[in-house]
Subunit: 605 residues, 2 copies
Amino acid sequence: MRTSIATVSLSGSLTEKLEAVSRAGFDGVEIFENDLLGCPLAPEQVRGRAADLGLSIDLYQPFRDFDSTSPERLRANLRRAEHKFRLMERVGADTLLVCSNASPDAVTDDDLAAEQLRLLAERAADHGIKIAYEALAWGRHVNTYLHAWRIVRAAEHPNLGNCLDSFHILSRGSDPGGIEAIPGEKIFFLQLADAPLLAMDVLQWSRHYRCFPGQGGFDLTRLLAHVLRTGYAGPRSLEIFNDNFRQADTGRTAVDAMRSLIALEESVSETLPGGASIPPPMQPSQFAFAEIGTSEPTRLGSLLGVLGFARTGEHATKPVELWEQSGARILLNRVLPKAARGETSLVALGLDSPDPKASTARANSLLAPVLPRHRAPDEALLNAVAAPDGTELFFCDATNPLWRQDFSPAAPPDDSTGSVQAIDHVVLAHPWDQFDEAALFYRAVLGLKPHESVEVADPYGLLRSRAMTNTAGTLRLVLNMAKVGTRGLPGQHIALVDEDIRATARRLLDLPERVTLPIPDNYYDDLQARFDLGDEHHRELRELGLMYDRDEQGEFLHLYTLTIGRVFFELVQRIDGYQGFGMINAPARLAAQHAPSSADLPLEQ
Amino acid sequence: MRTSIATVSLSGSLTEKLEAVSRAGFDGVEIFENDLLGCPLAPEQVRGRAADLGLSIDLYQPFRDFDSTSPERLRANLRRAEHKFRLMERVGADTLLVCSNASPDAVTDDDLAAEQLRLLAERAADHGIKIAYEALAWGRHVNTYLHAWRIVRAAEHPNLGNCLDSFHILSRGSDPGGIEAIPGEKIFFLQLADAPLLAMDVLQWSRHYRCFPGQGGFDLTRLLAHVLRTGYAGPRSLEIFNDNFRQADTGRTAVDAMRSLIALEESVSETLPGGASIPPPMQPSQFAFAEIGTSEPTRLGSLLGVLGFARTGEHATKPVELWEQSGARILLNRVLPKAARGETSLVALGLDSPDPKASTARANSLLAPVLPRHRAPDEALLNAVAAPDGTELFFCDATNPLWRQDFSPAAPPDDSTGSVQAIDHVVLAHPWDQFDEAALFYRAVLGLKPHESVEVADPYGLLRSRAMTNTAGTLRLVLNMAKVGTRGLPGQHIALVDEDIRATARRLLDLPERVTLPIPDNYYDDLQARFDLGDEHHRELRELGLMYDRDEQGEFLHLYTLTIGRVFFELVQRIDGYQGFGMINAPARLAAQHAPSSADLPLEQ
């Protein structure tokens, strides 16, 4: 496939954008006019820069309010177009995007629109330029792609064709099936944009909320399949107006963009033969381990100890401890990576993969940075890539966990005190500009299924939270971000399955020092109002400091430890197949975590 | 008037909110349930804390999905209500907000709704509690205030009345005139919220975009007048769900809130007799001066010099220079306030007021901090207050400019080199969370008229910009904020009227060192396409580096200097009554300002 991206999709100067686009592996760009206007380089220099970077200039855009207009306005528009044709010759672009007229005085007359566009195409032909006519979703007269196609067909000029933009088609709820009525050679350009399904003014929706394919709610696979069936052979180009991308890191946005096109192409190749293939996703079956970097290993080890974990191994060559309890494995790395800025942080996840090498190869195809491993001679070979937030993902083999060979036994496992069985889920925290990128990453690279995004009130802002699970429901990741405020990044946490959470809660309360997050009494008053649990059950929850939720399937009991650095633990007990994550309790939990008394864990050996 | 505010309108813990609300002068609060759930204080302690702070607890809210339901659900709801009644007794709240049922299975039956609400009111009466029933704009069955009133009237219970919420009424376009049909004693509560006029899903609009009265597009003056004509004597309460307020400084948001109520009350008292009165607004007629704090006075003075300014005075007791050119006066303060963090910044504005003392008194009534002046014995008394961004506003007397007495003449004014006449407008930059506050401040305190907000693309984000002018159009302020990104705060600038901008531009270009912002050639290519200016005129603009705009009235020529610290100057020439600010040129200008070559002014003496 040929890939392209509109410069408006990225942050920065035109030259910064061209460099990032080239580095991410795109074949070409659409030049968005404002990017050129503010650029100190002459059009010929831009052309040269793009050529040096191996980029074609596939489209110049936008040219607005040309058609369906009065004779006087038409004259001015043709004059304006001549200037742009000359500019396009200088910059080396051979296709001009003309958007359907959105001004209130646009004339409602298809024949007139066709006649005027034919005139424009004739002038364009003199410069070797093609006109790609696009129906804006908010076009005054022409606002559906089939209407734009009828006008193009009526105008009948070889230099006039259509530009299809998935946003303008799908935001209006148009059926993309009709695309197949357009001959492929009359589709001059294809712009692909996704968007979350919002009920709002379509212009504002388009200008601020577009996102890369796979990050929103549109079925772009179906749309692209229809386009390809026409014989369209031009670029798949991304034109994304997004407030976050406007300010995000240019290079990583460009990589995110390219990843979205690779994943989209893969999904289309499942329905169409002949697409480029990449190694198929290997859904991980469970967490092999979670690794925490900490400069307070004694404190953290002490917390793991009271949760029932035993220190069962020490890495042969690195300052890493293995802590285990039944199927839950935590690594404590006594060296913190620089990015953690001195704060105890989750730094890596081990994921059991049916084929670790294939998992790594797929991640690599989807532009995940493969991590170099500084391996001691007899250390196990690990397949590791970096997730968007910097978390290292290790693909492990559950049937042959080579990584354990690096750990010399420190003590025999001792499960006598705890009832933790496994890691239930892991919650990662993302800055605002990496949330959609992360969701696409885990979906595309690991094949996880994204759940609905939910919003959670924090005393100092709003959190957005989205769960990603494998098909079997045995591996759950939750992605959090601070939508607004919340005083910095939300915490990261590891939730542990505890088959007897009541016993654990009681044991933890009996400790001389508090290790669990105190839940306000007011939470329990409200719980009693919401659920008729019976006095005894309710009193027990309150006494033990357990939070409670219920869904159609079953019940959920959970509690939280105090926080060390950025990390805390949750113990969860799912009863009768409860599927959620206790999100309804998150506001009270966040308020408790912000309360001064729980600022940090006092535990120290 | 009695004033109240819902705790959900502010950021922070419940106790932080109560303290800020009290400090801002409110009489009471609505307790939003989530704030209590996450609070470690018992309800009795919250009650005590509020009492200590002089706050009544006017409402407990929300109680959802009570009415229009099945018998089984009703039973559970009554049980839930009993828990809340007991809680309200403990916290000392005597009114419960009940929102109309928004669940998909709500029953469409007015008689049933009335019967169920009557039952609830009977139970509430046993606890001395009143039920205020509110129509949510997205209520399933009941979603208009008159419908809610019909049900309350039918239920006929002394403990049942209505809550009116301006957002739910005006967001649906309901005519607030009908409020007068409701007897005042049946209006148990009044919630006032404004909102920008957005076309979007009403639930999302309500939950994220509400703002304080006067900050949005609703006519709350009219609505409040209708409510007061019913004889309603309860609190005017603010219930504002706003993503910015959730994370903003609690104390300043509370003050902003109170200011909005004072201004609203004033606007209503113009139509209703007997309202509390504050000193009327005194629109400033022009800028007396603009003051820049700088640690680079030589560089800045040199720039002012080449623009044609002369250093005409030195302050008697402070390190402040006066620079003048015709009616434009700039003060250079060689001491930077701490807030400027070492960067040359605009620190004060002198505003010519018809009555400086009255201006100060009004600002004071509207909670603007009056600034203490450290006055030397024979220094002129100045009336000064702090604007939201910390800019000091000095109210001056144009007919008797006492402030000038503090400056001993340094040199006679020399107008020979420049053609600058006056300050045309001043552009202030605000962080995201002070933009609406600032617009309300300048409207309420100075009586300026707000223009439409516009959005401007910056290479690294989006700017929002809003002009505020006096009625005569002789004083213009522009408020900018970084809506997203833009790499820090936008620049501040002083635009100067230049009656011969061509001559000035030519003179500045002839200087040995560049002092004006270079405008990309591509801008002029586009300008030629957009306007048919004639080759000669166009060539001149390009040569001189002048930007151009046109509106229905006339034409606009402008140019920018390079930036020193956060400050730059603009020269503007308005021809034939052009009214705008050349916003269409802002993206190209911003791109030029971000270009590495114009990072800072090389001028040095």
